[in-house]
């Protein structure tokens, strides 16, 4: 990108005002009369002048922008979080830019460093792993930081989360209560904390049951395409080796998985019951409507944005945690 060749002095000359007036126009507009503002604005438009935000930011501390780092914005769970954050931020006159870490702590760190360097007003982060220390350090240096879909065990960061262990417990408990005995947890990649918690909860639900087996299958991701691969893998097992129930790490994975099972002639739920997680808008509209653990997605996004606005307004305020209870929604895939 080349530097704009129009300078503040060109604008001043064009508008017939001083360079200080043009500077005021961008930095302290209240100092200018409406007539003067209009003159400068016209010159700015005519010449296509772009004030250098970097230079301005060195003087002014607010950018009017909130950064949001999520695992994957094209997963409707995070998309819903983003939309809710955008709505609350917009009402407060702030814009939101979003980065997707795709489960890479390195990529997440890149976004956070960028947001900090650009002096964003604050950040909302849905981290994919347990490494919260870089976030806590940023917070301690004065950046408002709010976690979403993750709590801070040290209690240093405000957070909005859901008890995923309890979510895993009620999902697996429902499968056992409905007579299933060979459960498979389709877990996606290692290291995603939220999913690890769901698995812990599922293990607790079956811990006292000698007659129930709980296996785990890993995959590279938790999306629809990889869900189909997991489904095909299950369909290729010898029938006695197949699970009679699958608890999928999220709804996307469950939807792809059901798709592949049905295509392979396996009946859902008769042969294999499937439970998802999140209750994204497509869960209840899927070919086999999906039993799932509901997260109140929009509410969580709004709560995170409100916590952030509070922290921007009152830096250093004590952290607060908002914890939502998970809720099992029973549909056709696991009645």
């Amino acid at each position: 990108m080349v530097e704009s060749t129009v300078t503040i002095h060109d604008v001043a000359r064009h508008a017939g005002v001083s360079a200080a007036t043009v500077s005021n126009y961008f930095n302290w507009p209240d100092k200018l009369s409406d007539r003067m503002k209009k003159r400068v604005a016209t010159a700015v438009t005519d010449l296509g002048f772009v004030p250098s935000m970097p230079a301005r930011q060195l003087r002014r501390q607010r950018s009017g922008i909130v950064g949001l780092s999520v695992v994957n914005a094209s997963n409707p769970f995070f998309g819903g979080i983003a939309t809710a954050v955008e709505q609350v931020a917009e009402d407060a006159g702030l814009s939101v830019v979003v980065g997707s870490s795709h489960e890479s702590p390195v990529q997440q760190e890149k976004f956070l460093t960028l947001f900090e360097q650009l002096r964003f007003d604050g950040v909302v982060v849905a981290p994919s792993d347990d490494q919260l220390e870089p976030l806590r350090k940023r917070h301690d240096r004065g950046t408002p930081v709010v976690l979403v879909d993750h709590e801070d065990p040290d209690g240093r960061l405000s957070s909005v989360s859901l008890d995923h262990r309890e979510g895993g417990r009620i999902a697996a408990g429902h499968l056992v209560d409905s007579g299933r005995r060979r459960l498979l947890f389709a877990a996606g990649p290692e290291g995603v904390r939220q999913v690890a918690r769901r698995l812990e909860g599922a293990r607790e639900a079956v811990a006292e049951r000698d007659d129930v087996r709980l296996d785990v299958v890993r995959s590279s991701d938790l999306d629809i395409t990889v869900g189909e691969e997991t489904g095909r893998w299950i369909a290729a097992l010898d029938p006695p080796e197949r699970p009679d129930a699958v608890f999928a790490g999220n709804d996307l994975h469950a939807i792809g998985l059901v798709d592949a099972l049905v295509k392979a002639g396996i009946r859902v739920p008769e042969d294999i019951a499937v439970v998802g997680y999140d209750d994204i808008p497509f869960a209840r509209r899927a070919a086999v409507p999906l039993t799932t653990v509901r997260q109140p997605i929009a509410e969580m996004g709004r709560a995170a944005a409100r916590l952030l606005l509070d922290e921007i307004a009152e830096p250093g305020r004590p952290p607060r945690d908002v914890v939502y209870p998970p809720e099992l929604v029973v549909r056709a895939s696991a009645p």
Copy 2:
């Protein structure tokens, strides 16, 4: 956000090196030995020093970041575009931040101004309206700009698009060919150019047919929830007033619409056939698998990212247009 109180001089003192060495560490790291790099890195971490990107950017012109402005990243069409852009950019060592304009030209302009002020390496824009002049001006000032899901009638900007008029023609043509005579186009809000084109195409498809009616219903948005409202509105019409086919502005709208029709006891496709647009991943997995006009979403995103990388590498290169043909995918909702 408070300014970091740690300066480059504090880091230099802590590391036992000169301030120039610390500066080199951030701006020309190749000048430093590995041992020296490690010394500075340790001091930076110990003190929590944050180099001011703004100051650095005034000297260096590349930020390593690409901006993406889309209509709504939580629509899986735009989510898919974003994921594809992210993949290509990541392979080139660039990060992507995303802003959702939510069909507001003012919000889109905010993002573009921000991206330009931050000296992003380039921007990919999926504009929601016809106002391309601000984008062309940015391009003329030296910002690499590529349009996606929109062409530039003046041929000044590179673009990746699909012939939406042809898409509308084949969708409506299919409904007429399968015997439908009272078509309703569920169009969403006025002013969305891509949808307006689909409507033009649909009108062309029925223009010569005196026995076919094509009505248009507007709504505030083209998402699932508003699709349900449109479906309920149709269900509340006197049966003779009801359409026998609906062409929805996009798949999200169609999925919500089918949901509401079925809930109201109207059979899809027997009573009302429904065609969507986009072929998002959920279209073929919906309760009634959706007939739709496929856009090659991932390919379009990748093509846009590649055009942008070319323009970043070779500023001022002549614009290129990649146009994809629409493809009708026939499923249960409109056989």
